[in-house]
């Protein structure tokens, strides 16, 4: 494989207090691929995802051991956390647009980085909304509150907001679990079009979704990565019995 490695974790352990939530995770995530994490609830896949842009820093009592390399640099040492988060964006499970206008939501990140030029911001807002397939729906109401959008639109707005930062990686934590099937389909389409430009890592509870959109899939169980392979292999011919059991719906 000549694909560049974006994230490389080495012997990553994570503890919530005394409870070990991640056990010695070793994983290489390739650039401009869609990587899906699947597994039953509480298996550590979201926790692992949140390690990648250090969102776990916000939680008290979390200790992390081992290394996470982002472009071969240690994210817990060599890279400033603010810089890391501008390069590794995140979309959350529940759409969380800020209670401001649609325009302000997109412009928020760039403005925080110090972008002030109005025309530059205008173009950026438009580009991001176009890329997130939301422009046509909201172009007449950019100054209205984002809270007036539907759930699916709000989630695409959150994706647009993340794209506006032009990150290298987009982390998605069950981005469609709060949405109806039509909105879900739109977001999945969006993801396939985004993978040309971005590395996407997605946590999902829907195995069909993982099958449809991802290039690689990792199966998590009890804080361990049981299997990590090309998606078609995971779904048709898994190496591990537990992966097969989970995928065929025998537990989970």
């Amino acid at each position: 494989m000549d694909k560049k490695i974006k994230f490389n974790t080495k012997n990553l352990d994570l503890f919530y207090g005394d409870f070990q939530a991640l056990k010695s995770i070793n994983m290489e995530i390739g650039e401009k691929e869609v990587t899906a994490f699947i597994g039953p609830s509480g298996c550590g896949k979201s926790t692992f995802l949140r390690c990648l842009n250090r969102m776990n820093d916000l939680i008290d009592g979390v200790t992390i051991k081992g290394e996470i390399l982002f472009d071969e640099k240690d994210i817990n040492g060599d890279i400033d956390v603010i810089n890391l988060r501008t390069r590794v964006g995140m979309v959350f499970q529940k759409p969380n647009p800020f209670p401001m206008s649609i325009y302000e939501n997109i412009a928020y990140g760039p403005k925080c980085q110090g972008m002030k030029d109005k025309t530059q911001l205008d173009t950026l807002v438009k580009e991001s909304l176009v890329k997130a397939a939301l422009w046509e729906e909201v172009k007449d109401r950019l100054n209205k509150s984002a809270l007036g959008l539907s759930g699916g639109q709000q989630q695409r707005l959150c994706i647009a907001r993340t794209i506006a930062m032009n990150p290298e990686v987009i982390l998605m934590d069950e981005p469609t679990s709060a949405l109806d099937p039509i909105a879900t389909a739109k977001i999945e389409d969006l993801m396939s079009s985004l993978k040309k430009d971005f590395t996407i890592i997605i946590v999902t509870h829907s195995m069909q979704q993982a099958g449809r959109i991802s290039d690689k899939t990792a199966f998590f169980l009890m804080g361990e990565v049981i299997e990590f392979n090309e998606t078609p292999i995971i779904f048709t011919n898994p190496n591990d019995k537990r992966t097969e059991d989970y995928i065929t719906g025998r537990f989970g």
Binding site: R85, T86, M90, F98, P99, K144
Partner: protein, 401 residues
Amino acid sequence: MSRKIKDNIVKSIIYLATAITLSVLLFILGFIFVKGIGLVNWDFLTRDYNEKVFYAFTQSEEIPMSIDTDTLSKNTPYDDRYETLTEGPIYIENIGAAVSKISYKNYTSEKEQFVISYIEKGSPLLNAKDSTGATINIKTDFILESINGESFENLTLDEVVSIISSQSGDLKIKVVQPGGGIKSNIITTLYMVLISLLVALPIGIFGAIYLTEYAKPGRIVNIIRFAAETLAGIPSIVFGLFGMAFFVVALNLQISLISGSLTVAIILLPVIIRSTEEALKTVPMAFREGSLALGATKLQTIFKVVLPCAVPGIATAVLLSIGRVVGESAALLLTAGTVSQIPGTLFSPGSTLTVQAYYIAKEEGNIELACAIGIVIIVIVIVLNILSRITSDKLDVFNKK
């Protein structure tokens, strides 16, 4: 006893309790209104409490009256609760104004006085200057006491009119601006609200930000919270004593607007910290995460996302605080004084409405006037409440869809 009877007994107790609460409340409000409403009028709100005596310098000038005598006699700016018109009004051409004799009576004094009841356009009284050369704004209601050294004491109106009419050229008139109003107390109260909020709001909000966003939960935070809660429960006279010892004496700020405001600001701090903290806690964690995930710093997150969401809660804090300041009396009695004047500087004393109500009821025994002040206080609190409700609705980011 059957269950139904028990239920009915409990139910009637509940209704009774509600009825008692409501009727007590209505009775108190009604009592204050009935006692005081007769005294609330425009003069009461716009006059100073103390009379002011001036010497007015002007030139006599013959100005004919432009209205007929019927209209003139209807033009009676008298407060018929204290004042009875005994003679007049009679128009005097060389001062361009009409004068009446009025007998004035209130709880503490009773006297006869000559009052300006009408001022003609172009009257020399309108451009009268005081001894320093500043213009005196003479209005109807002002009392005349002497002209060019000739006192009006114990004279009839006709005698006064003939004395005034016989003057020509330069006039030196002793005028008294009537008192009995609460303008200075209203203004002092508003100053007090403004200054104490200016001091207490930023400190309280930043304190609350520290407690919710920065401090690691644990001993220190618990101690600070406990301290804030305890402070909120301490009677304000204790703060007043502290303010007196510290601001008035130790910092030598004297009994003044600033001593009072700072003392009240300390009383407000716990209220503001507690309610801002509650407001910040209700802002969903998802907003903070969303902002941080976009590479915003913690401060940017707090000021651009978290605080705007907490505005309605902070507005509630402001509202509670305003109520506290307007209602505060014990602490201000000790730190801001009982002088009824508009404080010229931060370092001059002034009495707020509540202090004035106390003073009038206690020192002058005038319950009705105190009740009238009570009405004004109630109205101010209601108006401020409505205003803050409106602003907080306007600023509520979750309301705009």
